[in-house]
Protein backbone atom coordinates (compact mmCIF):
# COMPACT_ATOMS: atom_id res chain seq x y z
CA UNK A 1 0.00 0.00 0.00
CA UNK A 2 1.31 3.45 -0.83
CA UNK A 3 1.43 6.07 1.84
CA UNK A 4 -1.41 7.90 0.14
CA UNK A 5 -3.64 4.84 0.11
CA UNK A 6 -2.96 4.26 3.76
CA UNK A 7 -3.94 7.78 4.66
CA UNK A 8 -7.09 7.55 2.58
CA UNK A 9 -7.94 4.49 4.64
CA UNK A 10 -7.41 6.48 7.83
CA UNK A 11 -9.66 9.20 6.51
CA UNK A 12 -12.32 6.60 5.67
CA UNK A 13 -12.15 5.34 9.23
CA UNK A 14 -12.54 8.87 10.56
CA UNK A 15 -15.64 9.33 8.44
CA UNK A 16 -17.02 6.01 9.58
CA UNK A 17 -16.49 6.95 13.22
CA UNK A 18 -18.14 10.29 12.66
CA UNK A 19 -21.11 8.81 10.80
CA UNK A 20 -21.68 6.17 13.45
CA UNK A 21 -21.65 8.80 16.19
CA UNK A 22 -24.06 11.03 14.32
CA UNK A 23 -26.31 8.04 13.77
CA UNK A 24 -26.16 7.22 17.50
CA UNK A 25 -27.09 10.78 18.36
CA UNK A 26 -30.06 10.66 15.99
CA UNK A 27 -31.21 7.37 17.40
CA UNK A 28 -30.82 8.62 20.96
CA UNK A 29 -32.95 11.68 20.20
CA UNK A 30 -35.60 9.50 18.59
CA UNK A 31 -35.56 7.09 21.53
CA UNK A 32 -36.38 10.17 23.59
CA UNK A 33 -39.21 11.31 21.28
CA UNK A 34 -40.83 7.91 21.19
CA UNK A 35 -39.90 7.07 24.80
CA UNK A 36 -38.70 3.81 23.27
CA UNK A 37 -36.43 1.57 25.36
CA UNK A 38 -35.77 -0.66 22.41
CA UNK A 39 -34.23 2.17 20.42
CA UNK A 40 -32.29 3.24 23.48
CA UNK A 41 -30.86 -0.27 23.72
CA UNK A 42 -29.67 0.04 20.12
CA UNK A 43 -27.78 3.16 21.05
CA UNK A 44 -26.02 1.17 23.75
CA UNK A 45 -25.14 -1.57 21.23
CA UNK A 46 -23.71 1.07 18.93
CA UNK A 47 -21.60 2.45 21.72
CA UNK A 48 -19.87 -0.90 22.00
CA UNK A 49 -19.44 -0.89 18.24
CA UNK A 50 -17.83 2.55 18.35
CA UNK A 51 -15.46 1.30 21.07
CA UNK A 52 -14.30 -1.48 18.77
CA UNK A 53 -14.03 0.85 15.78
CA UNK A 54 -12.01 3.26 17.86
CA UNK A 55 -9.53 0.56 18.90
CA UNK A 56 -9.17 -0.53 15.27
CA UNK A 57 -8.54 3.08 14.31
CA UNK A 58 -5.91 3.57 16.99
CA UNK A 59 -4.06 0.41 15.96
CA UNK A 60 -4.11 1.47 12.31
CA UNK A 61 -2.82 4.95 13.11
CA UNK A 62 0.00 3.53 15.22
CA UNK A 63 0.88 0.90 12.64
CA UNK A 64 1.11 3.36 9.79
CA UNK A 65 2.79 5.92 11.98
CA UNK A 66 5.53 3.54 13.06
CA UNK A 67 6.02 2.12 9.59
CA UNK A 68 6.22 5.52 7.89
CA UNK A 69 8.10 7.19 10.75
CA UNK A 70 5.38 9.82 10.86
CA UNK A 71 5.74 13.04 12.75
CA UNK A 72 4.46 12.41 16.29
CA UNK A 73 2.31 15.52 16.10
CA UNK A 74 0.21 14.01 13.31
CA UNK A 75 -0.24 10.81 15.27
CA UNK A 76 -1.20 12.65 18.43
CA UNK A 77 -3.81 14.65 16.51
CA UNK A 78 -5.36 11.51 15.07
CA UNK A 79 -5.38 9.71 18.42
CA UNK A 80 -7.01 12.66 20.13
CA UNK A 81 -9.60 12.85 17.40
CA UNK A 82 -10.47 9.25 18.24
CA UNK A 83 -10.88 10.13 21.91
CA UNK A 84 -13.15 13.07 21.09
CA UNK A 85 -15.23 10.82 18.85
CA UNK A 86 -15.64 8.37 21.68
CA UNK A 87 -16.82 11.23 23.90
CA UNK A 88 -19.51 12.02 21.35
CA UNK A 89 -20.66 8.41 21.48
CA UNK A 90 -20.73 8.55 25.28
CA UNK A 91 -22.92 11.65 25.17
CA UNK A 92 -25.40 9.88 22.89
CA UNK A 93 -25.42 6.96 25.31
CA UNK A 94 -26.19 9.35 28.18
CA UNK A 95 -29.33 10.46 26.36
CA UNK A 96 -30.35 6.85 25.76
CA UNK A 97 -29.74 6.15 29.44
CA UNK A 98 -32.45 8.65 30.41
CA UNK A 99 -34.94 6.59 28.42
CA UNK A 100 -33.70 3.29 29.84
CA UNK A 101 -34.07 4.52 33.40
CA UNK A 102 -37.71 5.24 32.79
CA UNK A 103 -37.51 8.91 33.73
CA UNK A 104 -40.73 10.23 32.30
CA UNK A 105 -39.72 12.66 29.55
CA UNK A 106 -40.83 16.24 29.91
CA UNK A 107 -43.25 17.20 27.10
CA UNK A 108 -40.79 19.96 26.18
CA UNK A 109 -38.22 17.39 25.11
CA UNK A 110 -40.60 15.98 22.58
CA UNK A 111 -41.40 19.44 21.26
CA UNK A 112 -37.73 20.33 20.90
CA UNK A 113 -36.97 17.21 18.92
CA UNK A 114 -40.03 17.54 16.73
CA UNK A 115 -39.41 21.17 15.89
CA UNK A 116 -35.99 20.51 14.44
CA UNK A 117 -35.66 21.19 10.72
CA UNK A 118 -34.73 17.62 10.19
CA UNK A 119 -36.06 14.91 12.38
CA UNK A 120 -36.04 11.22 12.94
CA UNK A 121 -39.32 9.46 12.35
CA UNK A 122 -40.68 5.99 12.75
CA UNK A 123 -43.24 4.04 10.74
CA UNK A 124 -44.43 0.44 10.47
CA UNK A 125 -45.02 -1.04 7.04
CA UNK A 126 -48.46 -2.56 6.66
CA UNK A 127 -49.58 -5.44 4.47
CA UNK A 128 -51.16 -3.20 1.81
CA UNK A 129 -48.45 -0.53 1.77
CA UNK A 130 -46.85 0.13 -1.61
CA UNK A 131 -43.52 -0.15 0.18
CA UNK A 132 -44.23 -3.80 0.99
CA UNK A 133 -41.98 -5.91 -1.26
CA UNK A 134 -40.11 -2.89 -2.68
CA UNK A 135 -36.39 -2.38 -2.59
CA UNK A 136 -35.34 0.72 -0.65
CA UNK A 137 -33.72 2.10 -3.81
CA UNK A 138 -36.92 1.57 -5.82
CA UNK A 139 -39.07 3.34 -3.28
CA UNK A 140 -37.09 6.57 -3.97
CA UNK A 141 -38.18 8.02 -0.65
CA UNK A 142 -35.34 10.50 -0.64
CA UNK A 143 -36.22 12.03 -4.00
CA UNK A 144 -39.97 11.93 -3.49
CA UNK A 145 -40.59 12.92 0.11
CA UNK A 146 -37.12 13.84 1.34
CA UNK A 147 -36.68 11.10 3.93
CA UNK A 148 -33.93 8.54 4.19
CA UNK A 149 -34.22 5.20 5.95
CA UNK A 150 -31.39 4.99 8.46
CA UNK A 151 -32.37 1.86 10.34
CA UNK A 152 -34.91 -0.89 10.23
CA UNK A 153 -36.19 -3.50 12.63
CA UNK A 154 -37.49 -6.83 11.35
CA UNK A 155 -38.84 -9.13 14.03
CA UNK A 156 -36.04 -8.89 16.59
CA UNK A 157 -33.24 -7.96 14.29
CA UNK A 158 -31.90 -4.48 13.60
CA UNK A 159 -30.33 -3.33 10.35
CA UNK A 160 -28.35 -0.08 10.31
CA UNK A 161 -28.03 1.88 7.08
CA UNK A 162 -29.78 -0.79 5.03
CA UNK A 163 -28.46 -0.87 1.42
CA UNK A 164 -30.60 0.27 -1.52
CA UNK A 165 -31.28 -3.32 -2.64
CA UNK A 166 -32.76 -4.21 0.74
CA UNK A 167 -36.34 -5.40 0.25
CA UNK A 168 -38.93 -3.96 2.63
CA UNK A 169 -41.57 -6.24 4.13
CA UNK A 170 -44.84 -5.82 5.97
CA UNK A 171 -44.20 -5.57 9.69
CA UNK A 172 -40.84 -3.82 9.29
CA UNK A 173 -40.38 -0.89 11.62
CA UNK A 174 -38.42 1.77 9.78
CA UNK A 175 -36.50 4.65 11.31
CA UNK A 176 -35.98 7.45 8.86
CA UNK A 177 -34.43 10.88 8.86
CA UNK A 178 -35.89 13.76 6.92
CA UNK A 179 -37.67 17.05 6.86
CA UNK A 180 -40.77 17.40 8.92
CA UNK A 181 -42.92 17.74 5.78
CA UNK A 182 -42.05 14.16 4.90
CA UNK A 183 -43.31 12.74 8.16
CA UNK A 184 -46.97 12.41 7.26
CA UNK A 185 -46.19 11.27 3.75
CA UNK A 186 -44.02 8.48 5.11
CA UNK A 187 -46.70 7.43 7.55
CA UNK A 188 -49.33 7.30 4.82
CA UNK A 189 -47.06 5.38 2.47
CA UNK A 190 -46.24 2.87 5.17
CA UNK A 191 -49.86 2.44 6.17
CA UNK A 192 -51.01 1.99 2.61
CA UNK A 193 -53.05 5.19 2.42
CA UNK A 194 -51.14 6.49 -0.60
Amino acid sequence: MTSEEEWIMIEDMIRQLKNTCEFMIDLAYSALIFDDKDLAERVMDLEEYVDKLHTKFELKVLKIGIKRKEDEKNLLGLLRLGVATENLADAAAEIADIVLRGVEPHPILKMVMEEAEEMVMQATISENSILNGKMIGEAKLEEKIGVKIIALKREDKWFYNPPSDFVLKAGDIIIARGFIEGKNALKKLAEGEI
Partner: protein, 204 residues
Protein backbone atom coordinates in the same frame (compact mmCIF):
# COMPACT_ATOMS: atom_id res chain seq x y z
CA UNK B 1 -13.41 35.84 22.42
CA UNK B 2 -14.29 37.06 25.92
CA UNK B 3 -16.53 35.06 28.18
CA UNK B 4 -20.05 36.36 28.12
CA UNK B 5 -21.50 37.05 31.56
CA UNK B 6 -24.68 35.23 32.38
CA UNK B 7 -27.73 37.37 32.83
CA UNK B 8 -31.24 36.10 33.32
CA UNK B 9 -33.29 36.35 30.16
CA UNK B 10 -36.87 35.18 29.85
CA UNK B 11 -36.24 32.64 27.10
CA UNK B 12 -38.16 29.42 27.14
CA UNK B 13 -36.49 26.16 28.10
CA UNK B 14 -37.75 24.78 24.82
CA UNK B 15 -36.10 27.46 22.69
CA UNK B 16 -32.86 27.23 24.63
CA UNK B 17 -32.58 23.49 24.36
CA UNK B 18 -33.54 23.56 20.71
CA UNK B 19 -30.79 26.05 19.93
CA UNK B 20 -28.24 24.08 21.95
CA UNK B 21 -29.15 20.90 20.12
CA UNK B 22 -29.00 22.45 16.67
CA UNK B 23 -25.76 24.31 17.31
CA UNK B 24 -24.07 21.21 18.70
CA UNK B 25 -24.99 19.21 15.57
CA UNK B 26 -23.55 21.98 13.41
CA UNK B 27 -20.39 21.99 15.54
CA UNK B 28 -19.80 18.28 14.99
CA UNK B 29 -20.02 18.76 11.24
CA UNK B 30 -17.76 21.80 11.22
CA UNK B 31 -15.21 20.28 13.59
CA UNK B 32 -14.55 17.16 11.52
CA UNK B 33 -14.42 19.23 8.38
CA UNK B 34 -11.95 21.65 9.95
CA UNK B 35 -9.83 18.69 11.07
CA UNK B 36 -9.80 16.87 7.73
CA UNK B 37 -9.05 20.01 5.72
CA UNK B 38 -6.87 21.73 8.30
CA UNK B 39 -9.18 24.75 8.16
CA UNK B 40 -8.25 27.10 11.02
CA UNK B 41 -10.92 29.74 10.46
CA UNK B 42 -13.60 27.07 10.53
CA UNK B 43 -12.10 25.66 13.72
CA UNK B 44 -12.35 29.16 15.23
CA UNK B 45 -16.06 29.24 14.37
CA UNK B 46 -16.47 25.96 16.25
CA UNK B 47 -14.87 27.59 19.31
CA UNK B 48 -17.28 30.52 19.02
CA UNK B 49 -20.20 28.10 18.81
CA UNK B 50 -18.89 26.31 21.88
CA UNK B 51 -18.92 29.57 23.80
CA UNK B 52 -22.52 30.13 22.70
CA UNK B 53 -23.64 26.62 23.68
CA UNK B 54 -22.04 27.01 27.11
CA UNK B 55 -23.83 30.30 27.61
CA UNK B 56 -27.17 28.83 26.56
CA UNK B 57 -26.54 25.95 28.97
CA UNK B 58 -26.31 28.37 31.89
CA UNK B 59 -29.50 30.15 30.86
CA UNK B 60 -31.23 26.81 30.53
CA UNK B 61 -30.16 25.77 34.00
CA UNK B 62 -31.73 28.92 35.46
CA UNK B 63 -34.97 28.51 33.51
CA UNK B 64 -35.28 24.83 34.32
CA UNK B 65 -34.82 25.51 38.03
CA UNK B 66 -37.64 28.06 37.87
CA UNK B 67 -39.92 25.60 36.09
CA UNK B 68 -40.00 22.98 38.84
CA UNK B 69 -42.89 23.50 41.23
CA UNK B 70 -43.23 20.10 42.85
CA UNK B 71 -41.62 16.68 43.05
CA UNK B 72 -43.11 15.48 39.76
CA UNK B 73 -41.98 18.61 37.93
CA UNK B 74 -38.54 18.19 39.38
CA UNK B 75 -38.31 14.65 38.06
CA UNK B 76 -39.18 15.73 34.54
CA UNK B 77 -36.92 18.77 34.73
CA UNK B 78 -34.04 16.52 35.74
CA UNK B 79 -34.54 14.73 32.41
CA UNK B 80 -34.19 18.03 30.57
CA UNK B 81 -31.02 18.89 32.47
CA UNK B 82 -29.58 15.48 31.64
CA UNK B 83 -30.23 16.01 27.94
CA UNK B 84 -28.75 19.49 28.11
CA UNK B 85 -25.65 18.14 29.80
CA UNK B 86 -25.26 15.47 27.10
CA UNK B 87 -25.65 18.11 24.39
CA UNK B 88 -23.04 20.21 26.16
CA UNK B 89 -20.73 17.21 26.22
CA UNK B 90 -21.16 16.82 22.47
CA UNK B 91 -20.24 20.43 21.91
CA UNK B 92 -17.19 20.00 24.17
CA UNK B 93 -16.07 17.02 22.09
CA UNK B 94 -16.50 19.00 18.88
CA UNK B 95 -14.51 21.87 20.39
CA UNK B 96 -11.75 19.41 21.36
CA UNK B 97 -11.51 18.36 17.72
CA UNK B 98 -11.43 21.96 16.52
CA UNK B 99 -8.77 22.73 19.07
CA UNK B 100 -6.48 20.11 17.51
CA UNK B 101 -6.57 22.19 14.34
CA UNK B 102 -5.77 25.37 16.24
CA UNK B 103 -2.93 23.65 18.12
CA UNK B 104 -1.55 22.52 14.76
CA UNK B 105 -1.80 18.86 15.56
CA UNK B 106 -4.31 17.93 12.92
CA UNK B 107 -3.52 15.66 10.00
CA UNK B 108 -0.98 14.43 7.58
CA UNK B 109 -0.96 16.78 4.56
CA UNK B 110 -1.74 14.06 2.00
CA UNK B 111 -5.14 13.49 3.53
CA UNK B 112 -6.51 16.76 2.31
CA UNK B 113 -4.72 16.79 -1.01
CA UNK B 114 -6.09 13.36 -1.88
CA UNK B 115 -9.67 14.28 -1.19
CA UNK B 116 -9.88 17.92 -2.08
CA UNK B 117 -11.01 17.42 -5.65
CA UNK B 118 -14.07 15.22 -5.25
CA UNK B 119 -15.40 15.67 -1.74
CA UNK B 120 -17.99 18.15 -0.65
CA UNK B 121 -16.37 20.56 1.74
CA UNK B 122 -17.57 23.14 4.23
CA UNK B 123 -16.37 26.66 3.65
CA UNK B 124 -16.29 29.72 5.87
CA UNK B 125 -16.71 32.90 3.94
CA UNK B 126 -16.74 36.52 5.04
CA UNK B 127 -18.74 39.14 3.17
CA UNK B 128 -16.45 42.07 2.43
CA UNK B 129 -17.22 45.65 1.54
CA UNK B 130 -17.05 45.39 -2.21
CA UNK B 131 -19.08 42.23 -2.49
CA UNK B 132 -21.95 42.05 -4.92
CA UNK B 133 -23.81 39.95 -2.32
CA UNK B 134 -24.40 42.87 0.04
CA UNK B 135 -28.03 43.86 0.53
CA UNK B 136 -29.23 40.87 -1.42
CA UNK B 137 -31.45 38.16 0.02
CA UNK B 138 -30.85 34.45 -0.42
CA UNK B 139 -34.00 34.50 -2.51
CA UNK B 140 -32.42 37.03 -4.91
CA UNK B 141 -29.16 35.15 -5.06
CA UNK B 142 -30.33 31.58 -5.58
CA UNK B 143 -26.87 30.38 -4.63
CA UNK B 144 -27.84 26.75 -4.65
CA UNK B 145 -29.09 26.76 -8.25
CA UNK B 146 -26.52 29.19 -9.60
CA UNK B 147 -23.30 28.00 -8.04
CA UNK B 148 -24.23 24.86 -6.13
CA UNK B 149 -23.55 25.93 -2.57
CA UNK B 150 -25.83 25.35 0.36
CA UNK B 151 -25.53 27.98 3.09
CA UNK B 152 -26.04 26.04 6.31
CA UNK B 153 -25.41 28.82 8.78
CA UNK B 154 -24.77 32.52 9.03
CA UNK B 155 -22.99 34.36 11.82
CA UNK B 156 -23.65 38.04 12.35
CA UNK B 157 -21.53 39.27 15.24
CA UNK B 158 -22.40 36.97 18.10
CA UNK B 159 -25.67 35.76 16.63
CA UNK B 160 -25.95 32.51 14.79
CA UNK B 161 -28.68 31.79 12.29
CA UNK B 162 -29.01 28.17 11.25
CA UNK B 163 -30.48 27.34 7.84
CA UNK B 164 -31.03 31.05 7.20
CA UNK B 165 -34.39 32.20 5.94
CA UNK B 166 -34.63 33.14 2.25
CA UNK B 167 -35.63 36.73 3.13
CA UNK B 168 -32.46 37.50 5.08
CA UNK B 169 -30.43 40.34 3.57
CA UNK B 170 -26.68 39.87 3.61
CA UNK B 171 -24.53 42.54 5.25
CA UNK B 172 -20.86 43.44 5.31
CA UNK B 173 -19.09 41.31 7.90
CA UNK B 174 -21.54 38.41 7.77
CA UNK B 175 -19.87 35.03 7.98
CA UNK B 176 -21.37 32.34 5.81
CA UNK B 177 -20.87 28.66 6.52
CA UNK B 178 -21.60 26.81 3.30
CA UNK B 179 -21.38 23.33 1.91
CA UNK B 180 -20.39 22.57 -1.68
CA UNK B 181 -17.64 21.38 -4.00
CA UNK B 182 -14.20 22.97 -3.76
CA UNK B 183 -14.82 24.98 -6.93
CA UNK B 184 -18.19 26.28 -5.84
CA UNK B 185 -16.88 27.33 -2.43
CA UNK B 186 -13.97 29.09 -4.11
CA UNK B 187 -16.40 30.88 -6.38
CA UNK B 188 -18.54 31.98 -3.45
CA UNK B 189 -15.37 33.28 -1.84
CA UNK B 190 -14.64 35.40 -4.92
CA UNK B 191 -18.15 36.79 -4.86
CA UNK B 192 -17.87 37.63 -1.17
CA UNK B 193 -14.52 39.32 -1.46
CA UNK B 194 -15.57 41.35 -4.49
CA UNK B 195 -13.14 39.67 -6.89
CA UNK B 196 -16.04 38.56 -9.05
CA UNK B 197 -19.07 40.76 -9.47
CA UNK B 198 -21.33 38.69 -11.61
CA UNK B 199 -23.39 35.70 -10.63
CA UNK B 200 -23.79 32.99 -13.24
CA UNK B 201 -27.18 32.83 -14.95
CA UNK B 202 -29.71 30.37 -13.65
CA UNK B 203 -29.56 27.27 -15.82
CA UNK B 204 -32.83 26.84 -17.67
Amino acid sequence: MGTQEVQYKPLSVKELLKEMKNLSSLMIDLAYSAFLYDHKKLAEEVMRLEERVDYLGYLLGIQAALAARDREDAEQVSGILKVASAVDKMSDAAADIANLVLLDISVHPTIHSAFKKTEEIIGRIKIREKSVLINKTFEDLELETRIGVDVIALRRGKDWILNPNKKIKLQVGDILIARGSVESIEFLDKLSSGKVNKLPEVAK
